[in-house]
Symmetry: C2
Subunit: 327 residues, 2 copies
């Protein structure tokens, strides 16, 4: 508990008050050289984690946030930072992405991911991959090496075979915890949900990028595609507005094109990134649907959720480095 | 040529001038009891069809438009009308959907479809099905029989197996014309593209629906998912604004969440359905990307494209019944 308590008050303060630039107008918001936000899924009922589990989550988020922040501080691209963050979270079985992916109703792991470049509106995504260690890495190759945006199932696996990405036996994605969750869900108990991972970044060149990776919904039908691999639904980035990564009840995020919606509100209505994110998450989605992270072209960060908690973190060139789970 | 020439002048006139209601203000636009628009794909270079081919396309569109119009005239739902139209076009090998689907780079047919209910924002979609005679019918079952929005590949096939839908041997989708096109595309010639089918409808109960079905892009990588099965990209319906079905360069429609974009413009900026459709197709997409059809909650219809032509038709409760291919 101690780390969350240590960080959260500072964190909420930072969300409310952007620092005034040195010598500038108090009303003028400083443009960050770089900024980064990450999430590890919404949901997380209060009291659902032991202190040890909570420490483990925060340590994992801290490691991922540090990796992304170092990339951006060193002048790396927002795409590289987003990919670096998500690769680390995919390797950690704590999160429902990569290694820790949940199971479908027939006891398999089918993984989805997407990445988008705000400078070009180019994007890449995969859905239903079963042997690719890093779905976010494969999504980036779809963006960079094909004329397509989204590859599914066997086609995505065949493409992986042409790209020399690291493959694993499907058993790599077996974790006892997720298997036990499937058994509870098949017994008609509620899924804990959550655990999708994502990152949004602004780099020193002023480019935005967003990415998201997930194992989807525990007990989902085989072949189910949620919002994560869909640009506009779970992931969006546009240098003219912001970069967004979502987590939650994917079907609802698809029906409402949530990531694109937030970006459009920022671009066209004059709402700040935080105002747009809150409008969509608090007013337009249903309570309990999930949350999102977003970063604007000025480095303004929003992390909003209508669930009890969302694993998250934010860092920027002004020295911010914070993690959080609950409000 | 004669039928297109016969219809087009009336058609363009109707798009420009909505009729004044009997005894009402001239500025007030009549609300239609029902309205329907359909498309059979954008592209269609001028002079690319013989007179016989043109007649065949128009006859097929007329048959589909009549089926949808009869459904709506009789008080059927917009969902039923949309499904009826698309099922007929899927059975006709002239269009790139169902029977006439184009081939992937490895010589298979992988079909996509989606349908959306504007009253509930519910939707269903499938991608990469290979043995389902009517992908739009399966998409509707995803909407009505599952908690999901989109099923892909083998998972969608397995779901089809539980629903008793009509299955066919993959050879059903072999047509010589599409095979020859694949050979040309593999030889690096341009694809003719187009041929996706779609429908949007307003019913007597005031409910909107949209649907789209396609074989995708000739020579696409196996597993490629375009905009057609993605709610928000290729298909969208919301009773508060309009119903939209798109056709064209799918990746671009995904990157710009085109169908959702049109619906949001109508709902939030006061643009008419026609103005919103033109803004997106003419100003935001690139020339040659494609087109879309839309119908508003008042029965106002738009059919806009930035390609030389788009197979299309419109009908409504005021007696309109028109077909078109080029401007």
């Amino acid at each position: 508990m101690n780390r969350a308590i240590r960080f959260l008050p500072i964190f909420l303060l930072c969300l409310a008050c952007a620092p005034a630039p040195p010598g500038g107008e108090a009303a003028e918001v400083a443009r960050m050289d770089w900024a980064l936000a990450i999430h590890g899924g919404a949901g997380v009922p209060l009291g659902s984690l032991t202190e040890t589990e909570q420490e483990a989550y925060l340590e994992s988020l801290e490691r991922a946030l540090s990796a992304g922040a170092e990339t951006l501080e060193a002048g790396g691209s927002s795409l590289d930072a987003v990919e670096a963050v998500i690769r680390l979270l995919e390797e950690d079985e704590l999160f429902n992405a990569g290694r820790g992916a949940v199971f479908t109703s027939d006891g398999r792991n089918e993984l989805d991911a997407s990445i988008m470049d705000g400078a070009t509106l180019d994007g890449g995504a995969v859905t239903g991959v079963t042997t690719v260690k890093s779905p976010i890495g494969l999504a980036r190759l779809v963006m960079e090496q094909t004329d397509h945006v989204l590859l599914a199932g066997e086609g995505a696996e065949s493409f992986a075979g042409t790209q020399g990405v690291e493959r694993v036996d499907p058993g790599y994605f077996f974790t006892q915890k997720r298997w036990d969750t499937l058994q509870r869900v098949l017994g008609a108990e509620e899924s804990q949900g959550g655990g999708t991972v994502g990152a949004v970044a602004l780099d020193r060149a002023g480019n935005l990028a967003a990415g998201t990776s997930t194992g989807g919904l525990t007990g989902k039908l085989p072949g189910r595609v949620g919002d994560t691999p869909i640009l506009g639904a779970g992931t969006y980035a546009d240098n003219r507005s912001c970069a967004v990564s979502c987590t939650g009840h994917g079907e609802e995020f698809i029906r409402r094109s949530v990531a694109f919606r937030v970006a459009t509100l920022v671009r066209e209505t004059g709402l700040s990134v935080g105002e747009a994110a809150r409008k969509v998450v608090q007013d337009e989605l249903r309570q309990g649907d999930g949350g999102l992270i977003a970063v604007g072209a000025d480095g303004d960060v929003a992390m909003v959720f209508n669930t009890p908690g969302m694993f998250r973190g934010a860092a920027d060139s002004a020295g911010r480095f914070e993690l959080g789970i609950w409000d």
